[in-house]
Symmetry: C2
Subunit: 461 residues, 2 copies
């Protein structure tokens, strides 16, 4: 271990209590992005973050407007052209706190009980933002020059909890400013406190609304049943045909672009503690279901899926009404994996409908929402530096996982700025994020600061 790194780690350990005080200060600002009455607090919170960056000697610190709450930007580009540039992502906004009566302590007065700090945003993700800030502080206060061994840029947004609605446009507009070798995003958490985790892939999404039309008005099922193709039945037939008996999706060309996953990656996935038993417990389903050649964890990460999200047709109230409905609707979405893209999947869906929809009905497919697939090369400079940093602290190789869902900023950064994200973090599944009594496990948080310090030095060396 280099001397500089050692000094930074010691600084971090010695200042842990003050770091916690500053985290409490950060938690005390009710930066609830969804509440118009907290707009002033959100603004104040952005100022607080900007001041932190300034106090660390970051340059070009700005509170930059978006269509909604502002983004805090800052940078330190003094490590030279050959050193990598890291974009550090965070969000300073938080979830609402209701129902307030279920909180044991004031959500804005960070209270320490046993190993935890309780308060809204303590884990999601003010604690994570402070971890990255304090790792940088530990380095700049001990490096002698006040500089980091790498170039850094900060992108700390204020709308993550409301869908990062304006962030895509912001990134598109400021793509050059945000250009980096990779982004480190500590909003993804760990599997458990003994399992440092790197999430290197997110699935994409193609969301459709399919409508099937039969008769031009609702019919009496007694007078007309048996003469026309019931649109609810026709829709059921079309949906039933979208999977084969093994749970594989039958849309023409659906799997064509799916990148083959190697043995090594599947072995990493097999190391994850998300066993079939885990999925049974989490879902409460009578049994698991899906492609038999893949484990449940593989089915939610490296395999694309097609799910019915909603069904509506005819009479759905209490009791009975003998209507033969004029139309039926399904919301259907596909989770996508590398190298599928939503536009092509839309075409696959239309092809399927053209091939299978009978001439006894009319139909339309609306493409409601698209989100690209995001994946980071596992042997990239960012992943290697972070994985090593985690291993240096926990004494074990991190778990590598892909996440089944999408995260807006990750996709937007990849799409508009060409920046891949390394997702990690020190939040735990039991942290009550978005719920009352949100908490942060302080020993894990401390290790997180150390892991960040190590990552920076791993990159710089």
């Amino acid at each position: 271990m280099t001397h500089a790194r050692q000094q930074a780690l010691e600084y971090a350990h010695q200042n842990r209590e003050r770091f916690l005080d500053e985290l409490k200060e950060f938690v005390a600002i009710p930066s609830i992005s969804t509440s118009p009455e907290h707009a002033g607090d959100v603004e104040r919170c952005a100022e607080w973050v900007a001041n932190q960056l300034r106090s660390l000697g970051m340059d070009n610190v700005q509170i930059m407007p978006t269509g909604g709450h502002p983004v805090v930007y800052g940078e330190q580009l003094k490590a030279g052209k050959d050193a990598p540039t890291v974009l550090i992502y965070g969000h300073y906004d938080i979830q609402p706190v209701d129902p307030l009566e279920l909180w044991t302590s004031d959500p804005f007065k960070g209270e320490v009980r046993s190993d935890y700090l309780y308060g809204r945003g303590s884990s999601d993700m003010k604690g994570q933002v402070i971890a990255s800030l304090k790792a940088v502080e530990s380095i700049v206060r001990t490096s002698g020059t006040g500089n980091l061994p790498v170039n850094v840029k900060w992108l700390i947004e204020g709308e993550e909890e409301i869908g990062s609605e304006h962030l895509g446009d912001f990134i598109k507009k400021h793509a050059k400013l945000l250009k980096a070798d990779f982004c480190v995003n500590p909003d993804a958490g760990m599997i458990n406190e003994d399992a440092p985790t790197i999430t290197y892939g997110l699935r994409g999404l193609a969301y459709f609304e399919i409508r099937v039309y039969g008769p031009d008005h609702d019919l009496h099922s007694g007078l007309f049943g048996g003469t026309v193709h019931n649109p609810a039945q026709a829709l059921a037939e079309l949906i039933a045909g979208m999977h084969d008996k093994k749970g594989r999706i039958t849309l023409p060309g659906f799997y064509k672009a799916v990148r083959k996953v190697g043995k090594a990656e599947r072995a990493d996935i097999a190391r994850l503690p998300t066993t079939p038993k885990h999925f049974l417990k989490q879902t409460g389903a009578p049994a698991l279901w899906g492609e038999p050649d893949y484990s449940p964890e593989e089915r939610v990460s490296i395999r694309p899926t097609l799910e019915v999200n909603g069904l509506l047709s005819g009479f759905t109230g209490e009791g009975s009404k003998t209507v033969l409905p004029a139309w039926a609707l399904a919301k259907i979405s596909c989770r996508l994996v590398p190298d599928q893209d939503p536009e092509t999947i839309h075409k696959c869906m239309v092809k399927y409908m053209k091939k299978h929809a009978p001439r006894t009905i009319k139909w339309e497919v609306k493409n409601l929402h698209n989100s690209g697939v995001a994946i980071t090369e596992k042997d990239s400079v960012g992943v290697r530096a972070m994985a090593k940093g985690l291993e240096q602290v926990w004494g074990k190789r991190p778990l590598f996982k892909r996440e089944g869902g999408s995260i807006g900023v990750v996709v937007q950064l990849q799409k508009h700025a060409g920046v891949e994200s390394v997702l990690t973090g020190f939040g735990l599944p039991g942290d009550n994020m978005h719920s009352p009594n949100e908490k942060l496990h302080l020993p894990t948080w401390g290790r997180g600061i150390d892991a960040f310090i190590n990552m920076f030095y791993n990159l710089g060396s």
Copy 2:
């Protein structure tokens, strides 16, 4: 033509204007059974009908209570034990009149314009009730004895427009009083004014709600999609399997009790003007659908069907929500033909579910509503007398049809009193029943009175 019959017909022709005045009087009573504010009018209307029966010399005239609006009963049993007994059915209640602004004339001031009487209930079915009353009047005023050539009983209810909810219990309780050789029910109308029509069969109904349960709570489709059997998809698969490729129903044993329909009956059905083109026009569907070995008219009358009446699962609002729903619901009903019965069909549905529902989901089938099949022997005394009566007036053999739906009273009379119904009537498809500007075609109505007179004499001779 016998002398007595001739005299009755002449009486009817001579008194047609007065009959119309009395119909106007009947129409003027706003006996809207669904409106509590019209409860007094409904009662007054029952009185009016009872007075009509009394004025015709009927015996044992009573306004009999039910759980809701009363039934008017009366009888004349003077034709002797060997003469048949006819139960004459009618209802004195009417539909609401809103939207009132769409009426050209006051719905309760019967106004004659060209060949029509306009007013609420003129066709459905005060006009039909008056036709039966005035046929009887024409006979009793001209027969010399004041008696009819047959025994008659009257069952005129006040809740038909609200589903005859209390009539089943009433019939069960008074089965002996209502005992008759057959019931004549003029509430079924004609195919067109040149096509006198007898409806001799009604389909039964077995109505189910099927619920499919998957995970024990709604899941995030990104985090769990692909690991459990989506209940909306599983339901779609089950529904899709309920018909084969030819539109035949696959529930085990479903067709077992279906009575074979002979060539003669199918030839009668082929005479009906309800061509495939008619069904295309009435439904507005892109194409017809159903069992290829049967015509559309046969598919709605002599064939049982299974229709999806409703579908509900997950997110069905505007836009997209990536939920993997915990449950899905379908309302499904079967129209039944002789000799199917709803209880057996319920068992067929449960058998189907047991056979095809996978162990990856849970399910339940609720039997929401049952209605038996009603059919009248076509060579019965009642059908023969009515068919001949219609032919005597129109100069052509009536069309014989089965109706695709159910009519409560017909099923209840068959079930609880063992009385089969001959369904006919002089309402036309364009009469705007249940709509503004309801009207009665007066020339057809006059022929209807004549047909009733003929029927009574045909029975008596």
